[in-house]
């Protein structure tokens, strides 16, 4: 972590700053932010080297929530049994985790997925994306000191969770998307309720825009803060809103297609640096806000045309994919969620590696926060939108 420190050009270290000619000897202070800190979004520990309020270096320490997902996966007796563990990785977007894992195993099995399942999975994943982004935006508002938008976001997230609950009985960890299908069919009133939600949700978005997005203080706090340039973003393999916020027009749903996203009309939202520089915190925030709108569009189109059919394809109870390996990635709310699955022909996976987007996105944090202030660091960590369950797995 001792690479070149990118401090602002006008930064002078404290001893030279006194005007009286006397040099006061000042020290850098080491400050532990976390593991129990309100804005590390979980049990992340950031070791800060600070000079007054200016950050000289950040050293993230992770692993407090390590639950050996990969070891568990290897010890399952069945490929399907991994799914509940995948649920618990990124607990804010369990649907997307399930789907990503199912995609990987299905690719190994080379199975065809029924039409109805494709539609259901897509609707669920997009609802989950909205729910996850709502938390990202809401907690970001709290990080910035605005409490009210947070509760508005949670109010609407509740409605999504209600939809999930009526479908599969669970509100957080669904175990819903299985290899080859989904666990339950849609309940009768689901389509109606989903439409109703999409209609009402636009109002919430507008309210949040009014009170937060274009608030002068919020813009001052986030624009030009934590700028992540395009080339750094790609080199550090950032993904999701983090990469798009840096102005890279890139979305796996479109560029490495899976599911049936190509059948609907939607656009990839990219940060344009409207309030400051491309790739600043405000850009990452606005990409999330606009993605929610796009997801609403997708859901509205998808619920119109869900075909009839079976929701479980006729795959055997005990799956034995032939020996081989596959890396399948999909766009979770936080970015590229990949599963690298190696099969040795038996009923349990030989190796499962989860490429967690939050893990990768967090690794770039020291690069973009040197020279910022302590308050900026809170803004930057919030805009990266990490879920420690996924970082530590």
């Amino acid at each position: 972590m001792k690479e070149s420190r990118t401090l602002p050009t006008d930064y002078v270290s404290s001893p030279e700053r006194t005007s009286s000619g006397r040099t006061l000897r000042t020290d850098e202070m080491i400050l532990n932010m976390g593991p129990q800190h309100p804005s590390t979004h979980g049990v992340l520990r950031l070791e800060l080297v600070v000079d007054g309020e200016i950050i000289v270096d950040v050293i993230p320490h992770i692993g407090y929530l390590h639950r050996c997902f990969e070891k568990h996966a290897e010890h399952m007796t069945n490929y399907q049994q991994v799914i509940p563990y995948a649920d618990r990785m990124d607990y804010l977007s369990s649907m997307c985790n399930d789907w990503a894992y199912a995609l990987a195993v299905e690719k190994l099995l080379k199975t065809e997925i029924p039409e109805r399942v494709q539609y259901i999975r897509l609707i669920m994943a997009e609802l989950q994306r909205i729910a996850s982004h709502l938390i990202a935006v809401g907690t970001y508002a709290i990080d910035m000191g605005a409490f009210t938008p947070f509760l508005w976001c949670f109010r609407d997230r509740e409605r999504i969770l209600d939809l999930f609950e009526m479908t599969c009985g669970a509100r957080l960890l669904y175990n819903y998307i299985w290899v080859g299908g989904v666990s339950h069919d849609l309940p009768p009133s689901f389509v109606e309720k989903a439409k109703e939600f999409c209609r009402d949700f636009r109002t919430t978005l507008k309210e949040v825009h009014d009170v937060l997005t274009y608030n002068e203080i919020f813009i001052k706090r986030t624009a030009n803060v934590g700028v992540l340039p395009k080339d750094v973003a790609i080199n550090w393999a950032c993904s999701g809103p983090m990469l798009r916020g840096s102005g890279v027009d890139w979305d796996l749903r479109r560029d490495d297609p899976y599911g049936i996203y190509d059948r609907f009309e939607w656009t990839v939202q990219v940060g344009k640096g409207e309030m400051g520089t491309v790739g600043d915190c405000w850009d990452r925030y606005i990409v999330r806000m606009r993605e929610m709108e796009e997801s609403t569009r997708i859901i509205e189109q998808a619920v119109e045309s869900v075909p009839e059919g079976n929701v479980q394809s006729s795959i055997p109870k005990r799956i034995r994919p032939e020996a081989g390996e596959v890396y399948v990635r999909s766009e979770s709310p936080r970015g590229e969620l990949g599963f690298y699955v190696i099969s040795d022909g038996t009923a349990s996976p030989y190796r499962v590696k989860a490429r967690a987007p939050a893990f990768v996105n967090l690794s770039v944090l020291p690069e973009i926060s040197r020279g910022a202030m302590v308050a900026d660091l809170v803004a930057i960590v919030g805009s990266v939108d990490i879920v420690l369950g996924e970082v530590d797995r």
Partner: protein, 348 residues
């Protein structure tokens, strides 16, 4: 009231105790109401209900909160500087309470009718900073220290706009005695200094833009002075955990809390006295008198307390450098212009 009591009891310590008691009673009652108001206002802004079970719409909840705080274990960190740690909340409270001494509650009651009332309040309210610094330092916690340093820097910066804004009103009335300042504004809403004071019409109209600006700035600086969002950096919970009071619990924490709420009313009350006619009725002779006076000043003060609550639950928080920028580069230059122009108008 002072004379009345003096004639009844004579010169003794009981007299001073009785004179000092009303603000304390007021503060305690007011804090109960405001805790409830804040929770309810924020809840309704956020589409929820807040307390609903303790009494009608949870009116008894603040009482329950206080009982809980009283029973809470009073922890002192082992590494803390004990005497300072224990003293700090009381110092903060004293600074605030001493300010209430010069706040006129009605034409008949003021804790201490001193001639330098305005000056006294500005001076005495700065004692609180010492308490905050002590709390931050004595906690022996880096986050607390951060909070304390921030609050010291912030309060020192915002004392200046407050003093300058008050000076605008003082220049117009020509007195530092708060009772005199209020009497000067008696006779209805149009005589309030925020609307130019009881001057001839032309002068009044000329003064109007400057008095309104000064009042507006006074309110902003007042919010900053009491460390409320968007200026709540010293205790910014998402950055500094809880700032200077991170390590406090139980009654000591409650005293910090009480001081913050009381301070909210103090700055509102001072703003109301100097710019909005204090205890004087907005309808001239109608509804005026010593008891109505209490009603009016509490109403005016409470309106601004409500405004502060409203702002708190709406706006995000500024950053340290932006906070300093606001004070030194925006508010103070504006006030200098106000002062200069008001002076010029009054001379002409």
């Amino acid at each position: 009231m002072e004379e009345l009591l003096r004639s009844l009891i004579g010169e003794s310590w009981i007299l001073y105790l009785l004179l000092a008691a009303p603000p304390l009673v007021f503060i305690l009652l007011y804090a109960l109401v405001t805790v409830w108001t804040e929770m309810k206002v924020s809840a309704h802004m956020q589409d929820r209900l807040a307390y609903m079970y303790t009494g009608f719409h949870g009116v008894l909840q603040p009482v329950a909160d206080i009982l809980k705080l009283l029973q809470k274990e009073d922890t002192i960190p082992t590494a803390a500087d004990r005497p300072l740690f224990v003293m700090a909340p009381f110092l903060v409270f004293i600074g605030m309470y001493a300010g209430f001494a010069a706040l006129p509650f009605s034409s008949a009651y003021i804790g201490s009718n001193i001639n330098l009332g305005v000056f006294y309040i500005i001076a005495v309210s700065s004692i609180g900073v010492v308490g905050l610094l002590m709390a931050g330092w004595a906690s022996n916690n880096k986050w607390s220290l951060f909070g304390a340093m921030r609050s010291a820097a912030q309060i020192i910066s915002y004392e200046i706009p407050i003093a300058l804004a008050l000076l605008v009103a003082v220049m117009i009335t020509g007195s530092l005695n708060l009772q005199d300042v209020i009497r000067y504004q008696e006779g209805g809403i149009l005589n309030w200094i925020v609307f130019g004071g009881p001057q001839p019409l032309v002068q009044k109209l000329l003064l109007l833009p400057f008095t309104v600006t000064a009042f507006f700035i006074l309110f902003i600086a007042g919010v900053a002075e009491v460390n409320r969002t968007p200026f709540d950096l010293p205790e910014a919970e998402s950055e500094l955990v809880q700032g200077y009071n991170t390590e406090y619990s139980g009654m000591k924490f409650a005293i910090f809390y009480l001081a913050e709420y009381a301070n909210m009313f103090l700055v509102s009350g001072i703003a109301a006295c100097l710019f909005l006619g204090g205890w004087s009725s907005p309808f001239g002779e109608l509804m005026s008198g010593p008891l109505w006076g209490v009603f009016w000043i509490v109403l005016k003060g409470y309106f601004f307390v409500f405004l502060q609550i409203w702002i708190r639950w709406t706006l995000p928080r500024l950053r340290v450098d932006q906070l300093m920028y606001t004070s030194w580069k925006v508010l103070i230059p504006f006030l200098f212009v106000c002062l200069f122009c008001v002076g010029l108008i009054l001379v002409l």
